[in-house]
Amino acid sequence: MRLGFIDTSVILFYMGGVLVLGTILRKYVRSTRDYFLAGKLLPWWAIGMSVVVSDIGALDFVGASGGAYRYGLVLANFDWIGCIPAMILAAFIFVPYYWRAGVYTIPEYLGRRYNDYVRAVEAKLWVLFMVCNLGIFFWTSAVMLKPLTGWSTWTSIILTASVVGIYTVSGGLSAVVMTDVVQLVIMYIGGAALVVLGLFAVGGFSGLVEKVHGLGGQYSDHFRLFLPADTRSPYPWTGIMLGLTVVLATAYWIGNQAIIQRTLGAKSEWDARAGMLWGAILKLFIPLFIVFPGLIALALYPGLKEPDEALPTLVKNLLPMGLMGLVFAAFFAALMSSVDSYLNSAATLWTKDIYQRFICKEASDRHYLVVGRISTIAFVLLAVGFAPLTAEFPGIYVAMQTLLSFFQGPTLAILLLGMLWRRTTQWGGLAGLISGVAISASLFGMQKDIFICENPFLYIAWWSFVGSLVVTTVVSLFTKPYPVERLHGLVYGLVMKDEGVQESLRERAEA
């Protein structure tokens, strides 16, 4: 299958348009606040669209439909109960909290609340994770595009990296968010076209259910949102509830720099909250575009060797010329939105949490703006250089994802305790982080011996979270806490109640 002239034109027009839009926003960038926080001028609708499109990457399109092809509708939980409650929690409790505290990054908060050990660990881990993931995004997308576009792997990588790099370096967070808005619209239109044509082909939703159930008993659970607790699939309802809804979703929506950075750039506290809720509304529709194609592919083309072929097979067989180009533009949109978000956030973490904190403390704002831009370029180059390593070292992608999952539960535990309990001490936080990671690593190593389901990452997240909560609490009770004055602006009750502190925090946020 190759894309036709019209399809290629649609893709190139889309990429050119995004590039122009992103670079136009350069004229609004005068300071680090403009570059990293979009001058604190972002409206709620742009924030909501941006957080959603940043969350859905190109690999999610392929991976989620492949997962739905294999496991069924249960994958939709990742966008419904695995997002919505956490986004509401973020909107009403955590986003306004960060907003008033006037921080740029999550590690910055952790550094103030605990100590620089915790800040350095978190900042470096996230920078490293983001750069590695950028390389993985570039490589896997280029490999998938090769048979369709005829472009060589390096042409795809360099083209994508150049377009995203140019507008991200020029326009900073404003460019990232505004191009995200365009990308979400393209993604929705392309995804909806595919699902509508797919449902038409299988005879509507009832036809889809009938066809899938007609494939045999092993597909009887494909339209269930919850699977039994003793299932062998990675998604038992207990794992969905505890590991996904309580730990991973909450950790992602209140602790992921790429997400929180958008709300910190809001023009008012209301816009920050509303942006998160608007994102939750948009999230309700995402499974239609990334999970349903997998089910439709199962009904139309059962017996595919690789479940991840579900989406490409559907696109190849269902879409006419022009629409195919639009769906691939949607694919590019998903890729570019993830890449630009990671680039901007990695540059923010590097500049604010590493460079400004440890290497060069007292320089002009202009200096840090230049550093931010240079580091964005450096991260693009690093990611491009890292991209082929993904193919050379097959274990590194798994290792990177695994390592991040080790940190999710413990980070959430120390974040929550640090925010909500003033008795939490710096040594409690450090011990909780280290022991939680050790629990994750040990459970990961023992998984085949102690869990009955395949890939028990949801359970590992849950138990590392619980272990970290316990250790942080116990160690905190035996160590000396910071004085209350030191915690003003850092612990929830103190931020919300003390009007004097509120005033100084507002000034800090507006400075």
């Binding site: 509708l73 419904w80 109960i81 919505i84 409650p85 509401i88 929690l89 909107a91 009403f92 620089d116 050990y117 350095a120 660990v121 470096k124 881990l125 490293l128 590695c132 339209f223 269930r224 949102l225 919850f226 699977l227 039994p228 607790a229 207990t238 509830m241 008012s268 506290e269 209301w270 509303a274 809720l277 509304i281 309700l284 590493i354 904190r357 440890f358 290497i359 403390k361 007292e362 070292f393 097959p394 274990g395 590194i396 798994v398 290792a399 695994t402 390592l403 080790f406 280290i434 990671v437 050790a438 994750s440 690593a441 040990s442 190593g445 023992m446 085949k448 102690i450 869990f451 009955i452």
Partner: protein, 188 residues
């Protein structure tokens, strides 16, 4: 821990050396974990060889920086490297590919964890999926109800126009209602 505000150039060089060494070493640790999880012997060998090169080079640079610089980077990086190394060692230690001969304590630990796991599973496996859906709906409704504890004035903070549609508690009610309908009706 506090850094030097006006670090001299050699100190900065040492800090950069630590930083680069730390990053290289971290890649080495990643490859070690990769070696533990990869299926093929060739994959494991290439990962291991690369890991040792990166760990050696990174360790040398990092050590040089820590010993001579003693700057603000040392403690956080030591913590970080120790953390990553502890994870990698823990993962490698319990990985089936690296510990084919099980020691007695490992078997005892696994038996104990299995026993706990089977008790917990036994407690939840009897809950029907219909009840899980109802509990989900109740939980979601509680979230929607809890947001009404936040005063409207608090939500309108920073706004000049205070129209009714800007009341975010109403938005939440709509979102949660949609979720409840989905979970109760879809996938019966």
């Amino acid at each position: 821990m506090s850094g030097q505000n006006n670090s001299s150039t050699p100190q900065k060089e040492m800090q950069v050396l630590e930083l680069v060494g730390g990053f290289l070493g971290f890649f080495g640790i990643l490859l070690l974990i990769g070696a533990a999880v990869v299926d093929t012997v060739s994959g494991m060998v290439t990962n291991l060889v690369s890991a040792f090169i990166l760990l050696g080079l990174g360790g040398w640079m990092f050590g040089k920086g820590v010993l001579r610089g003693r700057g603000s980077w040392a403690k956080p990086l030591v913590t970080f490297a120790g953390l990553a190394l502890a994870s990698a060692v823990a993962a490698l230690f319990v990985s089936p590919s690296t510990s084919p001969a099980r020691s007695e304590w490992y078997i005892a630990l696994v038996d104990a964890l299995r026993w706990i796991g089977s008790r917990l599973r036994g407690a939840v496996v009897s809950i029907s999926l219909q009840w899980v859906k109802i509990l989900t709906a109740v939980g979601l409704a509680m979230v929607a109800g809890a947001v009404w504890l936040v005063r409207r004035e608090t939500l309108y903070r920073g706004l000049q126009e205070r129209q009714r549609w800007r009341d975010l508690r109403l938005w939440t009610a709509v979102i949660v209602a949609a979720q409840i309908i989905i979970y109760l009706l879809l996938g019966r």
